[in-house]
Subunit: 166 residues, 2 copies
């Protein structure tokens, strides 16, 4: 009985903190949340001291193959990069360690040099918080993304460089 | 021809910076490098300001299921946690961003409450650098790991708490 209560509790926690991907609305430019992105493999990690965040950068199969083979300038069509971003928090047990706190958002860049030609060949989308609210009032939100990515136009608009794995 | 030279160059770079998992020697306690760990899914990320490093924490299928279902105190037998650790570096294009620099090591905790009873139910192993040199002079190296993990004995000897995903 205790086990059943525990399972029920675990189930309720799941329901209250996450929304199924197919229930999440599209971004204002029509891009939908990539299914199964939480199972994608790692390209890199990064943190920012200007807004106290840390993140993991994931890739779909096309992006992972490109990252491992060094085909990233340009990235191939079909590549999707996903960033999951958390507020940085202190580790309770290691004073000088920084760990993920609250989730900020998950954001994606989808490469399609024709379809997204007006935004540098990448389709941008972002979903805020655990309830994954689509970011942006209308499709023009992507101009904000492009502006921020302009310093890395020379590396196909992508900040992330694949981390070196053994 | 130019394309062939480029492919050959890419191949040589691959050979010079990574060693195939089956060519990597075991840790002094006999633990072997988990095959395919670079394809494992993400449990969390962390960084340390005391030694200027950042890392991703990956899990095998048993660990990922446990992390997602909240079965982490204790973690189930068969769970393996992998940490890939890099020196922290500055992003060239975003002054306040921190990104992975040189690889430091990949290290693992394997849960087997009987086999590794003498080290808290976890088998420890670490491989240094891109050439994945096993860490430790002899099997006693694990005492060092246990000492460092003693502050988190109450959470089954594991520092990492699964990051909140949407």
């Amino acid at each position: 009985m205790q086990r059943q209560i525990l399972l029920l509790a675990a189930c309720c926690i799941g329901l209250s903190t996450a929304v199924a991907a197919d229930k999440v609305g599209p971004a204002p430019n029509g891009i939908t949340l990539p299914a199964g992105y939480k199972d994608w493999r790692v390209i890199s990690v990064s943190s920012r001291t200007d807004n106290n965040t840390m993140r993991v950068i994931l890739g779909n199969d096309v992006a992972i193959a490109a990252a491992r083979e060094g085909r990233i300038n340009p990235w191939p069509n079909g590549a999707i990069l996903g960033k999951v971003v958390w507020k940085s928090d202190k580790d309770k047990h290691w004073e000088k360690a920084v760990v993920p706190g609250n989730l900020v958002h998950a954001e994606f860049m989808t490469k399609d040099s024709k379809k997204y030609a007006s935004t540098g060949g990448w389709g941008y989308a972002r979903w805020l918080g655990l309830d994954q609210k689509p970011y942006g009032k209308d499709a023009n939100f992507a101009n904000e993304c492009v502006a921020c990515h302009t310093p890395v136009k020379g590396q196909d608009w992508v900040y992330t460089r694949p981390a070196r794995f053994p």
